[in-house]
Amino acid sequence: MQVTSRRFKDSAHEALHDKDIQSAFSKVKGGFPVARAKSAGELPEFEDLRDQARDLKNHILENLDYYLEYFEDQVLLQGGRVHWCSSYAEAREVVLDICRDANAKTVTKGKSMITEEMALNEHLSAHGIEPIETDLGEYIIQLAHEHPSHIIAPALHKTKDQVTELFHENHGKYGFTERITDPQALVNEARSILRDKYVNADVGITGANFLIAETGSTVIVTNEGNGDLTQSLPKTHIAVSSIEKVVPTLEDASLFLRLLARSATGQEMSVYTTFSTGPKRMEDIDGPANFHVVLVDSGRSDLLGSDKQDLLRCLKCGACMNHCPVYQAVGGHTYGWVYPGPIGAALNPHMVGLEESRHLPNASTFCGRCEEVCPVRIPLPKIMRHWREQAFETQVTPKPERWGIGIWAFFAKRPKLYRLMTRVSARALKLMAGKKGVIRKLPLMKGWSSVRDFPAPEGTTFMDQWKKQQREGK
């Protein structure tokens, strides 16, 4: 997908003035975070599980090559195939080749962020294969030709009225000509259309929440059951996964599963948790004849051993964005690439380049709520700060900002000069304010005074008053 992170400020401006977006995202804070807090509170060992999950992920990342090869061996034993792809382009070609081998005309898709990263739908469409998203939210935004605004609630930015219009425009060809507004009726309409798609699809593509090394299984969690139909009805199932999703054992997967839904939606478990192990066996009633796992690296192995390795622990639960006041204010699309919110602010610079996305790690108050709720304790603010440091060192940070910091630091490092500067500033600002107590326009700090008045200083600095008091013996 096209990266639009450079437009972050403009996109934020637009989002802040878009009533639908404001109404959609301001509701986030009353929903997911409340449910998460309740569900975490009901599990006494929740905090311990977070520690265990962090430590286990760290162990996996330190032995990633071992577990991935272990996983591959088991997939092969089960009769499946594993495809190793270092880039998006490679992964797209692999998927396309499998689809062509299956003479695929349509493919159904379960929800997957990695295929979003590699722009798989666009690639398949360009080669005459129709991808059909089956997660309701993904289905909606596919009709709208948009991208997810949230990693687990992709159509969060869409209002009910917009969905009504989309369905009305697109479902006529299936014989649904009535404009419906009832949410349940909308769901039913989409469901009846998707039923046929599942049955007629030649290939089913899903993501993977986990890859289990000891069994060669791929695991998906969904609330709609669409993933199950996607992967079990067509003749060919392709699970596309980034490399860091591997876990050693079933037992390990259960640790993460206990955290995942609780952190994401506040559910104890998602409605469906589905394990896929190899193609259909002789005695199986149904299931795909062909089972492929496409492993995508695309920059992830570069994070191993770096100061940003912790990012690879991410379970893609969305808790960080659910709790982020910046995300709540500007919505998901503002971030300009696949991952919005704090995880996007910390990860996207690595994936799309810091110059392209420098706003993302900067547009944070470091309030720390993301780190506070991350199930695997990714130090998101710390990683964002590392990007800021990198931007400063490589001069990606704009000159005026660098100069501003430079001038301020020049004084801060010289206490005597600093005293003089603050003495003059305190007096000048006090004079500017007069009796009002506030300054309404600050020419050098427009960012401040475009929004707020500046509460005027009292006039004499603490240090000057203190010294005077000490001299006069209090």
Partner: protein, 257 residues
């Protein structure tokens, strides 16, 4: 006359915003610390904790300023700041700043262990409780992100405020949400900051309290500035001022008259 032995030898870290903008917070802190049985010193070479440079990615400047702070506050039993943000910088982030520098780390760990945010120091270390302080008003308390999440300050200021006679605390909704200050964030991303501070203000006003208090001047200036711009009648004070019996003085942005 030398101080009795049990008196805690405390260095006040004034912080740059208090020094420049609202010195009365510094004097309130001195008054409270003295009442809590401390001897106060104000090291002269202090300027700022370096957080502005640190959060802007200018690690070298941040390190130089941090070194200055570490030198300035050597030899005191405690370092106390009327700010969770600055205290958090010293206690938690200097370690990250000098990661891998073992010679500095000893001094940093030692300083971190004796650096406190004001209300938690008064409450947890001194066992202090305000006496004969009266303020007849309703008040809502804003938890600054650094105080709350870095310094684990939540109950201490409320316990201290609870001892102020005539004061009724009215908690606001979503009180753990950020006010949108974020240091240079509020300058660089002013529109997003505006949206955040407005959300905060709606909740504060809905609490029905007449006065807002917090332990960090950054948040207070942001919220007070926006309240003034919107013409909303809520008085804004630093918690130290209220606890020190200075609650009658004009709030932030109110002038002298």
């Amino acid at each position: 006359m030398s101080a009795p032995k049990e008196k805690k030898n405390v260095a006040l870290f004034v912080t740059c915003l208090v020094d420049l903008n609202r010195p009365s917070v510094g004097f309130a802190a001195v008054k409270l610390l003295e009442a809590a049985g401390c001897t106060i010193m104000v090291p002269e070479v202090q300027t700022c904790c370096g957080q502005i440079a640190y959060n802007s990615g200018d690690k070298e400047s941040a390190k130089e300023i941090a070194s200055q702070v570490i030198r300035a506050f050597q030899g005191f039993d405690y370092v106390v700041a009327p700010s969770g943000s600055c205290a958090g910088m010293v206690r938690h982030h200097y370690k990250e700043l000098f990661e891998g520098d073992d010679t500095m780390m000893v001094a940093i760990e030692e300083l971190a262990g004796r650096t406190y945010e004001l209300t938690s120091f008064l409450h947890d270390i001194c066992g202090y409780r305000p006496e004969d302080v009266r303020l007849d008003t309703t008040l809502t308390y804003h938890d600054s992100c650094s105080s709350l999440r870095e310094m684990k300050v939540r109950d201490q200021p409320r316990a201290l405020l609870g001892a102020v006679e005539g004061l009724e605390i009215k908690e606001a909704e979503d009180r753990e949400a950020c006010c949108g200050f974020g240091g240079t964030f509020c300058l660089k991303y002013s529109e997003i900051s505006e949206s955040m501070v407005d959300t905060k203000i709606e909740n504060l006003l809905a609490s029905g309290a007449g006065t807002l208090a917090a332990g960090d001047l950054g948040c207070l200036m942001n919220i007070a500035g926006r309240l003034k711009r919107r013409g909303a009648p809520m008085k804004v004070m630093h918690v130290a001022e209220i606890l020190a019996g200075m609650g009658e003085k004009p709030g932030l942005g109110e002038g002298d008259s």
